[in-house]
């Protein structure tokens, strides 16, 4: 799959933003007044910034509001509904903390649930794709949810929780990498089933439809990054999980915490780039490619 920078930026930043909103909604840390304002500002910048970035890859961003209508069947629509609901509820809860010094706790819990729901709906957009076997597994939501919570815990300054969640998200990510490598073969889709010509013999692509490239090849057959996959996995693992855990084990300071957040987000963005670049869509089979 083509790793669109806007989508990588969106899922990385808004994941961390909604993760932070989960912790703020749960009252971890308990904040009020200006401190609350600072925390909520960071969460909204990340979450809303990510959402805005995601509209950059649309062909017609001006019609994006129509995407709220099909929540009955579409995970993308559900994501939009969930995100707006989470942002509205958390805005009310945050206003209570900032201006009234009052924690409207039921509102906070609801907002936390909606924030987590937003990350889940995002992950399901990918996990539902039967056409991309690497994504079509429960590990995809497990990875997205633990990564968002780990980023949120880091941003919320919950050191112990952050260490636990970083380890959990690291485990989910590594599992998704390793098991993901076997998924395409396990899906049972190959050139024989794609063309139905397997009943005759071994199928090879002889000629593509056109000599030039096309939308399908650009969007679904991305082979450039795969050859460095192992190196990138090491870099992502070190930056997203190992380094932040080590930094958190050191005596706490805001600078070290900031470094941990930066390292984590860079690592997650690298892992997210791989999430797309390594994903193989079955349509490539029609072109004799993966």
């Amino acid at each position: 799959m083509h790793p669109a920078p806007s989508v990588i930026l969106f899922t990385t930043l808004s994941g961390a933003g909604f993760g932070l909103l989960v912790f703020l909604g749960l009252g971890l840390p308990e904040v009020s007044g200006f401190t609350a304002f600072a925390f909520f500002a960071i969460a909204y910048l990340l979450a809303v910034g990510g959402l805005l970035a995601s509209t950059f890859h649309l062909g017609h961003p001006e019609r994006a509001w129509k995407a709220f209508s099909q929540w009955r069947t579409s995970w993308l629509s559900r994501e939009g509904v969930c995100a707006v609901a989470a942002l509205l509820v958390m805005a009310a809860y945050g206003a209570g903390l900032v201006f009234l010094n009052a924690a409207l706790q039921p509102l906070g819990y609801l907002g936390a649930a909606l924030s987590l729901g937003t990350v889940f709906t995002t992950s399901m957009i990918y996990a539902q794709m039967k056409t991309v076997p690497r994504w079509h597994t429960p590990l995809t939501p497990a990875m997205f949810l633990t990564l968002a919570l780990a980023g949120g815990a880091l941003l919320a300054g919950q050191v112990r929780l952050a260490i636990a969640l970083l380890l959990a998200s690291g485990a989910a990510t590594v599992a998704a990498w390793i098991l993901g490598d076997t998924r395409f073969k396990a899906s049972g889709t190959d050139m024989a089933t794609a063309t139905g010509l397997g009943r005759i013999g071994t199928v090879k692509a002889f000629e593509p439809p056109h000599t030039g490239t096309n939308y399908l090849l650009r969007e679904f057959v991305h082979v450039v990054g795969r050859k460095h996959s192992l190196k990138l996995r090491m870099i992502a693992g070190a930056l997203a999980f190992a380094l932040p855990v080590i930094l958190l084990l050191l005596p706490f300071s805001h600078w070290i915490a900031a470094l941990a957040v930066l390292s984590h987000l860079t690592g997650v963005a690298t892992a997210r780039w791989l999430f797309f670049a390594e994903a193989e869509h079955v349509v490539g089979l029609y072109y004799g490619k993966r």
Binding site: G59, K204, Y215
Partner: protein, 264 residues
């Protein structure tokens, strides 16, 4: 509405005969022509006369080389070239429809055609991700998703002569490799064709239940023994008699080399 209809009254679709397709790409051209000049956003090209041309197509013809497994009687089976047109299969369980966030994609309850309402399409591309067949292409100029409409603006078009009320690809195919009809009606011509020739689905394991069917290439004839005439071509006389025989013997007696073979 992106909920799929529980059942459609008709299942309009195509039957594509891989035995007779000659790979001429006429269907590709007629499709591009009709769907650029008529309904919806035109199918644009980018850099059409330059170094890196590409464009939107609703129908593309792939070509495959298929080598049968070697057997004891045929240790070196001949590889077959099979031309393979591919367009939207108008699946009963169309995954491209349910993922659409705006309701732009829909499957018609009356005839099962999968269409895109371009005025509602935000160009997110998710439907193309969900389609295993590569049937949907985002138009780079218009930013909306394009797909085969089964020429919905031809098949019901009262202003066209009746013979033209079939999809442009079917109408234009010079080898009769494309057939259009109601695959939900077991008595239709296309349903008979599928039953007789063993029509099959593409990627059945994806669970999309495609309406379009493909007819397999017929088994190739075995070539006859090419030496069938050689017994009749053998020389009638091994040792010539008469004057030629005398000359032959006389020349053999002369010193020097003579060709050993008396034949050929």
């Amino acid at each position: 509405m992106t909920q799929l209809p529980p059942a459609t009254q008709k299942k309009l679709g195509l039957v594509i005969d891989l035995d007779t397709c000659v790979g001429c790409h006429a269907c590709v051209i007629s499709c591009k022509g009709w769907n650029t000049e008529n309904y919806g956003a035109p199918l644009s090209d980018q850099d059409p006369y330059g170094a890196d041309p590409s464009g939107t197509f609703l129908n593309r013809v792939h070509s495959y080389a298929v080598t049968p497994l070697a057997t004891s009687t045929k240790p070196h089976p001949t590889t077959q070239t099979i031309h393979f047109p591919k367009s939207c299969l108008h699946c009963e369980d169309a995954p491209c429809v349910t993922v659409c966030p705006t309701g732009a994609s829909y499957k018609r309850a009356e005839d099962g055609i999968v269409l895109v309402n371009e005025a509602d399409c935000i160009g997110c591309g998710l439907c193309a991700w969900a389609c295993p067949y590569g049937a949907r292409e985002m138009d780079a100029a218009e930013g909306v998703m394009k797909k085969c409409t089964l020429c919905v603006d031809r098949i019901y078009n009262q202003t066209l002569p009746e013979i033209d009320r079939t999809p442009a690809c079917v109408r234009t195919c010079p080898s009769g490799a494309r057939h259009f009809g109601d695959l939900g009606d077991p008595d239709s011509a296309v349903s008979h064709l599928v039953a007789e020739r063993g029509g099959f689905d593409l990627m059945p394991e994806q669970g999309t239940k495609p309406v379009n069917k493909y007819l397999p290439p017929r088994p190739k004839d075995t070539l006859p023994d090419l030496d069938i005439l050689s017994p009749y071509l053998a020389p009638v006389t091994e040792n010539p008699g008469g004057f030629l025989g005398w000359l032959d013997r006389a020349l053999d007696k002369l010193p020097g080399q003579s060709s050993k073979t008396g034949r050929g």
